[in-house]
Symmetry: C2
Subunit: 207 residues, 2 copies
């Protein structure tokens, strides 16, 4: 498949692109290496020259998803330089987009559901990425001046993960349709607490 300049991408790139598309749409177990090789315009032998096993291809695919998420964070920061509240709004808008535009949910969370073997090499990648995303969001909430930024990041993370899986389970008119209003209400509540007069509380200090 030549691009607009008539250049054909190297096999490894084509295989990864095909895996990304097919794994995303049909799940990791819903598609075999034959179908991926065919979609990449190559064959299984070539695929196995670049990726020792299907598991190695899965790991490479998930690393790609992590890299795309990193790009999104960089974009959010570049488009809203030194403006944490605007960055948080941008995060929220992008979160909402990925729920409404793409009904298949998060590639990494979906992979966690499918890869039930605790020793699967992909599990470490998924856990590390999910932890980093949450910490990045907590950092953003803190920079935006919202108190209990760690608790807020946990809440927003659960709402987003929930919305992405609920979109698949309950359909697009289910609770996932309420993600943005729910998340905005939660953020406003955390902000309002900051403005309210301080009072004794038994809550633990947020990270």
């Amino acid at each position: 498949m030549p691009d607009e300049f008539g250049v054909v991408a190297p096999p490894r790139t084509r295989i990864l692109a095909a895996a990304r598309d097919l794994f995303h749409r049909h799940g990791l177990r819903g598609v075999g290496v034959d179908a991926i090789a065919e979609a990449a315009g190559t064959n299984k032998m070539t695929l196995y020259r670049h990726f020792e096993s299907k598991d190695e291809l899965i790991v490479a695919y998930l690393r790609g998803a992590v890299s795309e998420a990193d790009d999104i964070w960089r974009e959010i920061e570049r488009e809203n330089p030194d403006d944490a509240p605007a960055q948080l709004r941008s995060w929220l808008k992008r979160a909402e987009d990925c729920i409404t535009v793409d009904g298949r949910g998060c590639d990494l969370a979906n992979a966690a559901v499918e890869l039930t073997e605790t020793a699967h090499p992909a599990r470490r990648i998924i856990e590390k990425m999910k932890t980093e995303q949450r910490d990045r969001l907590a950092n953003l909430c803190r920079r935006a001046g919202i108190p209990k930024s760690g608790v807020l990041a946990d809440t927003l993370t659960l709402l987003l993960e929930g919305a992405r899986v609920s979109r698949q389970a309950a359909g697009c008119n289910g609770p996932s349709a309420k993600f943005i209003s729910t998340a905005e209400t939660v953020i406003e509540t955390f902000k309002a607490k900051a403005k309210a007069p301080a009072k004794r509380s038994s809550h633990k200090r947020a990270r």
Copy 2:
């Protein structure tokens, strides 16, 4: 496998029990009908006499999960008769238990992630069950006297779905560990709004 009275369950019951255990642990695509037949102490021919296809077995397995969820709702109501606030606390406790005790998440949400074919007969069952669960929770919140019960039910549903998938993706020390405190805070916030003096708001009226 005889029970404590030496009675062997009929094949259909044994097949369903084995499917429930194996599908739950390894996913729908992570286990084949041979393994299920073997675990049930029978063979593939007998399995296919009771279930025309693996998809039919999947549907029966998910119907069983729906039935178990119905039992939990009945228990919640029986243990806390005519006491909606206590029923809501009981719901919360059971939700927390299912996150911490069982790392594999919700059978129906997991199935929605795995069954990517939009026409799969199981999808209707999943969507119907998820819609009913949310409506049941909204009804409970309303009976507990909490305003905007529909919005609260959507929020709690997203938090729970999120916690169950986050437990699988980010591990047991990730945001899922904050489910109960997050959910309690959300419920208190909704209650507090009811006590606060009414003021003009641009929010849409809750269901």
